[in-house]
Amino acid sequence: MPMDLLERFLRPLRQRPMTRRYPDEPAILAPAVRGLPVLDPSRCDSSAACVAACPTGAIELASATWTIDAGRCVFCAACEAACPRDAIRLGQRFELAARTRDGVRIATQIGGVR
């Protein structure tokens, strides 16, 4: 065990500072990080399954616009699971700060509505 002890003493000397330099450098995100739900408009068939599945009512589907209210979203991925056409994916976008309440409502235009 003495070598192990020596290793433990030397480890901090070799270690680099652990402070991350965000925002000067991009954030380091684990693969499991859930960001804003993103709709692929080409896959969406306006079934509104996501609207029904959302526990906080964060999703609105008007005629040709799909709106996610990041101020309500709890990033639970229920919409992703509910979508019958796999059109929704939770990305890793987390920089969502806005100066107005409407600023955190993020709209996506749906192309071919049926």
């Binding site: 991009p26 906080t56 101020g71 990033f75 920089e95 700060a97």
Partner: protein
């Protein structure tokens, strides 16, 4: 980073500009829990750990609203805490900023619509920056704080806020 514009119309931006000028872009924060589940509060606590270390950005937390430039509010704003929140805000010297942290502080989140709270702090305090998340990760909080002082651009800033993971600070 989009430079601050000459005279923005938004009072929040004007205030941010004023603070920017007067305080040399440093920021003292008072954290206020207005009925949160403690998720957001733990993310805020993580700002002070060696990994995120907001003090490197001139941001620090203070123990009294009288020493604070910015009120960082988490939680749904329960009716019991409403008066305490107002008195905290009134105790702050001007110019002062309010940042709503997390889905609860913005809209009530999963608790929205209950009789016991205000479903967000917006009806009680004048919010300058909304930081979505449940909870927002520490980097999202850093972005929100830097938006509040005009060092990063928000989603709804003109020309700013593509926000697609690209750091917007200078």
């Amino acid at each position: 980073m989009t430079a601050l514009h000459a005279v923005p119309d938004d009072p929040g931006q004007r205030l941010a500009q004023a603070i920017d000028r007067r305080l040399g872009r440093s920021l003292h924060i008072r954290h206020l829990d207005a009925g949160s589940c403690n998720g957001c509060d733990w993310e805020i606590a993580a700002l002070l750990n060696p990994i995120h270390d907001v003090q490197r950005l001139g941001i620090d937390f203070v123990a009294s609203p009288r020493h604070a430039d910015l009120l960082l509010v988490t939680g749904v704003m329960t009716r019991n805490l409403e008066e305490a929140a107002l008195r905290t805000y009134e105790a702050m010297p001007e110019p002062r900023l309010v940042v709503a942290v997390g889905a609860c502080a913005i809209s009530g989140g999963v608790f929205a619509g209950s009789y016991a709270h205000r479903s967000g702090i917006d009806g009680t305090l004048p919010v300058d920056v909304f930081v979505p998340g449940c909870p927002p990760r520490p980097e999202a909080l850093i972005q929100g704080l830097l938006v509040a002082v005009g060092r990063m651009s928000a989603l709804d800033d003109p020309g700013g806020g593509s926000g697609d993971g690209v750091a917007g600070a200078d």
